[in-house]
């Protein structure tokens, strides 16, 4: 079973929910797919045992065969190739690895070569099999790295995916094969607005979902009103407590000290199982 944790707005508590839930379950696989800013291992503290570089293919121009006809740069929708007199310029970061340039070249002057965009780390902690994607600094595309990360998924385990913030490509790639999605929000106008966007995405993808309200207690009731109006289950409300914020700041999962939340996370998990 695959459960992803997403939010729309950043900083609402995705990693808090994902890590504390994972620590409560057995036979768990944890996938941190926020490859731009992965934080889950700050809390899980798994020992990384192996690292794998992730590569994409980019065009490799054979200058001897190339007659600078420009068909490759005309075809490329991403402006990753430019043909200037007697030279083909390749812009690796812009390339989406579609293979089109190789196909259209009339002189078979284009092959491919590999380029590293990031890495996947793997480790273990207690009963958790941990995977982490890390995008290289200056790289644009998170999606190929997330795709590689998803190949590690073993659906017979309890798989928790910690998704990136936002609502576009990296989020969709992270959650689109999930059996259930937990949307974490906070009771503020920003939290509500971005929750609505996230709800549109999970509905669009036809994924069953529920909401966890984090930092409950601002007095802003509209998030709950929205959920009840839309018939969205509220799985839990995590209180706005200084102790929880302090533990977070130190990289400590709050269930380690607020042990009553173990039970609560087991209940959340059981409720999710019922809904799918």
């Amino acid at each position: 079973m695959i459960i992803s944790v997403a939010s729309g707005k950043g900083g609402t508590g995705k990693t808090t929910v994902a890590t504390n839930l994972a620590l409560t379950l057995k036979n768990t696989q944890f996938i941190d797919s926020d490859v731009e800013e992965p934080n889950a291992n700050i809390f899980l503290k798994s020992q990384i045992t192996d690292t794998e570089e992730i590569q994409v293919e980019i065009p490799d121009i054979n200058e001897e065969k190339c007659d600078y006809c420009g068909k490759c740069s005309d075809f490329c929708k991403y402006n990753a190739l430019a043909v200037v007199p007697n030279k083909v310029l390749v812009f690796p970061e812009l390339c989406h690895s579609c293979g089109g340039c190789e196909l259209v070249c009339p002189n078979q002057a284009i092959g491919c070569k590999s380029r590293t965009i990031g890495k996947i780390e793997h480790g273990k902690i207690n009963d958790i099999d941990f995977y982490n994607g890390i995008l290289k600094i200056g790289e644009i595309q998170a999606v190929p790295l997330i795709k590689a990360l998803k190949k590690k998924i073993q659906p017979n385990k309890n798989v928790i995916i910690d998704a990136p913030p936002g609502t576009s490509c990296p989020v969709i790639e992270s959650i689109n094969t999930s059996d259930y999605c937990i949307l974490v929000t906070e009771p503020t106008p920003f939290g509500l607005h971005d929750l609505k966007l996230a709800v549109e995405v999970v509905r669009h993808l036809n994924i069953p979902f529920g909401v966890i309200i984090n930092r409950d207690g601002t007095g802003y009731r509209q998030v709950e009103t929205f959920c009840s109006h839309e018939k969205i289950p509220i799985l839990a409300k995590i209180p706005d407590k200084k102790q929880i914020a302090e533990l977070y700041s130190k990289g400590i999962p709050f269930t380690e000290e607020l042990t009553e939340w173990h039970e609560k996370f087991i209940e959340i998990f059981n409720q999710i199982k019922k809904e799918i």
Binding site: K9, I137, G166
Partner: protein, 288 residues
């Protein structure tokens, strides 16, 4: 004309609340919301939209089933797994490369524009604003951000504004890079948590990679003194100036609930520090 982008690496450190405060403090600026994925600045600035234009992101493949012979060559050549067994295009996976159109022997595939979002030029009580809306499950947010920034520049030229303040997205990838390339200064908003510090280091490396000058704001600096000290030491090592230390203040949320920025909402130690920070940032931008 100068550009300032507010970024953070980690989400939820206070980028938008601080950008909204700058809207009050800046004298002659255009505001731009480049967090097009989850745009929130408009919730405080309440823009009145003056002009709307459509945004076409990547193209998308369309299949003419009258011409299609189900040879499935397109499935074989698509690197994005965007065509299923029944030769339906999976909208969320198609990156618009055009390989299927090229490879189809019966010319059954054509690439078409997709309506990916809307671009707005607006007026707010603080001055003009450029923003956008990305439609659900659409891609190409990097391209949309570039268009918002171009729009902001055009507005600034037309209205004689000398500064563009950009509310950036979280992360370090495509949308962030589109939001910061070529700007005069980035303000990195961090907070004293281990997660935010980890992300601060990565976003600082990105700014360095693209050779963009950066200054730091520590938001909620008083929630963990040890971590705040670690940030101060890291900034010293890196030669990064800390332009502001903002205390934890519930007024940020209360102001947001009343659709105000904190400068409009209250006057206290926090708003004084924000005002001092803005003066320092302006001095940095003047320098660049």
């Amino acid at each position: 004309m100068k550009e300032l982008t507010v970024i953070s690496g980690k989400g939820g450190t206070g980028k938008t609340s601080i950008t909204a405060a700058f809207a009050s403090l800046a004298k002659n600026a255009v505001l731009a919301d480049c967090d097009v994925d989850a745009a929130d600045l408009h919730l405080i600035l309440k823009p009145v939209i003056k002009k709307t234009t459509g945004f076409h992101g990547l193209e998308i493949a369309y299949i003419d089933f009258e011409k299609c012979t189900k040879c499935k060559k397109c499935i074989k050549y698509c690197r994005f797994d965007a065509i299923d067994e029944n030769i339906n295009i999976i909208k969320e996976s198609c990156e618009g490369c055009g390989v299927c159109e090229y490879i189809c022997p019966s010319k059954a595939i054509t690439m078409k524009d997709r309506d990916s979002g809307l671009v707005y030029s607006s007026e707010t009580r603080f001055g003009p604003m450029a923003h956008a809306m990305l439609k659900t499950a659409e891609e190409a947010s990097g391209k949309l951000i570039t268009i918002v920034r171009e729009n902001a520049k055009k507005i600034a030229e037309d209205k004689n504004k000398d500064l563009i303040i950009i509310d950036g997205p979280p992360g370090i990838g495509c949308p962030v890079i589109s939001s910061i390339t070529g700007v005069n200064l980035v303000l990195i908003v961090t907070e004293p948590t281990l997660s935010a510090i980890h992300d601060l280091k990565r976003i600082t490396s990105v700014a360095n990679h693209f050779q963009i000058p950066a200054v730091i704001c520590i938001n909620k600096y008083d929630i963990n003194n040890q971590n705040t000290n670690d940030i101060v030491n890291y900034c010293k090592e890196q030669g990064l100036e800390i332009v502001g230390k903002i205390p934890y203040n519930k007024n940020f949320t209360q102001a947001m609930i009343e659709e105000k920025n904190i400068i409009e909402f209250s006057k206290d130690e926090t708003t004084e520090e924000l005002t001092r920070m803005w003066t320092k940032i302006l001095a940095f931008i003047e320098d660049k």
